[in-house]
C-alpha cells in the first residue's frame, strides 16, 4: 500500500508541463495563441472602458467632458490604439480559430501562413482605422 488513492485527496496524476518554460520551444503559432488570450483578457477591460464612456455620456455633458480630455491626451491615444489593435488582432485570429473549428487550415504550413496573415492584417487595419480617425474632423 504505497499510494493509497482515496476520494478525499487529489490523486497524483501526471501533468503536462506549463507551456512557458524549458520544455517547449517557443514557436510563432504558440506565441499567437498566447497573444489571443492576452488580447482577449485586455479587451475585457476595454469593454469596461466602453461601458464607462457610455454611462458618462448618458450622465450628461459635465461627466463626458471630464473623461474625454483623458481619451484624447497622448496617453489616452496610446491606450485607444492598443485597444484597437487588440480588438482587431482578436478579431482576425478569432476568424482563424473559427476556420479551425470547421476543420480548415489545421496543417502547420497553413497555420503559419494564416498566423502571419493575422499579424499583418491586424497591424494594417489598425493603421487604417487611425488614419480614418485622424482624417475625420
Amino acid at each position: 500500500m504505497s499510494t493509497p488513492a482515496t476520494s478525499k485527496t487529489t490523486p497524483q496524476r501526471p501533468l503536462s508541463p506549463f507551456m512557458i518554460g524549458p520544455y517547449y520551444k517557443p514557436q510563432m503559432t504558440s506565441m499567437l495563441s498566447i497573444t489571443h488570450r492576452l488580447t482577449g483578457l485586455g479587451l475585457s477591460f476595454g469593454a469596461i472602458l466602453l461601458v464607462t464612456w457610455l454611462v458618462c455620456l448618458a450622465s450628461g455633458v459635465d461627466c463626458y467632458n471630464t473623461i474625454v480630455p483623458h481619451l484624447t491626451a497622448w496617453y489616452g491615444k496610446v491606450v485607444l490604439v492598443a485597444f484597437t489593435w487588440a480588438l482587431l488582432y482578436h478579431f482576425c485570429n478569432g476568424i482563424r480559430h473559427l476556420m479551425w473549428d470547421l476543420g480548415k487550415g489545421l496543417d502547420m504550413p497553413t497555420a503559419e501562413k494564416t498566423g502571419w496573415g493575422v499579424i499583418v492584417v491586424s497591424i494594417l487595419v489598425t493603421a487604417g482605422v487611425w488614419a480614418l480617425a485622424l482624417a475625420t474632423k
Partner: protein
C-alpha cells in the same frame, strides 16, 4: 473505500448533456461579433473628434442604439466565457477560483446592464 455508486460520484461534477454549451455559445457570440465589431471599430473611428452633442445624437439613432446594445451584450457574454476559461486554467486553489469566477460574473453582468441602460437612456430621452 467509498460506498457511493459511480453515478453518485459523477453527479454535479461535469457534463449533463450540456457539455458543449459553453464551447458552442462562445462560437455563436464570436460569429455574431464579426459584423458587430467591424461596424463598431469603423463607427468609433469617425467619432474621435466629435463632441458631446454629436456623439449623443449618434448613439440615439435607432439603428445605432440597437447595434450598440447587441455589441455590448455579445462582447460581454463572449468575454465572460473567455475569462471563465482563463480563471479555470490558471487559478489553482478551489476557493480562490470560486471567488474569481463569481467576481468575474458579477462584473460582467453589471457592465452589461450599465452599458445597455446607458444606451437606452441616451436613445429614449
Amino acid at each position: 473505500m467509498s460506498y457511493r455508486s459511480p453515478l453518485g460520484h459523477a453527479r454535479g461534477l461535469g457534463s449533463a448533456k450540456q457539455g458543449t454549451h459553453h464551447f458552442w455559445i462562445q462560437r455563436v457570440t464570436a460569429v455574431a461579433l464579426i459584423p458587430l465589431t467591424l461596424w463598431f471599430v469603423f463607427s468609433l473611428a469617425r467619432l474621435t473628434s466629435a463632441d458631446f452633442d454629436v456623439v449623443s445624437w449618434w448613439v440615439a439613432a435607432p439603428s445605432v442604439a440597437v447595434a450598440l446594445m447587441l455589441f455590448i451584450g455579445c462582447a460581454l457574454y463572449h468575454s465572460l466565457l473567455g475569462v471563465q476559461v482563463v480563471i479555470e486554467d490558471y487559478v489553482g486553489s478551489e476557493g480562490a477560483k470560486i471567488v474569481a469566477l463569481l467576481l468575474s460574473k458579477f462584473v460582467h453582468v453589471v457592465a452589461g446592464v450599465a452599458g445597455i441602460f446607458a444606451v437606452l437612456k441616451i436613445a429614449l430621452t
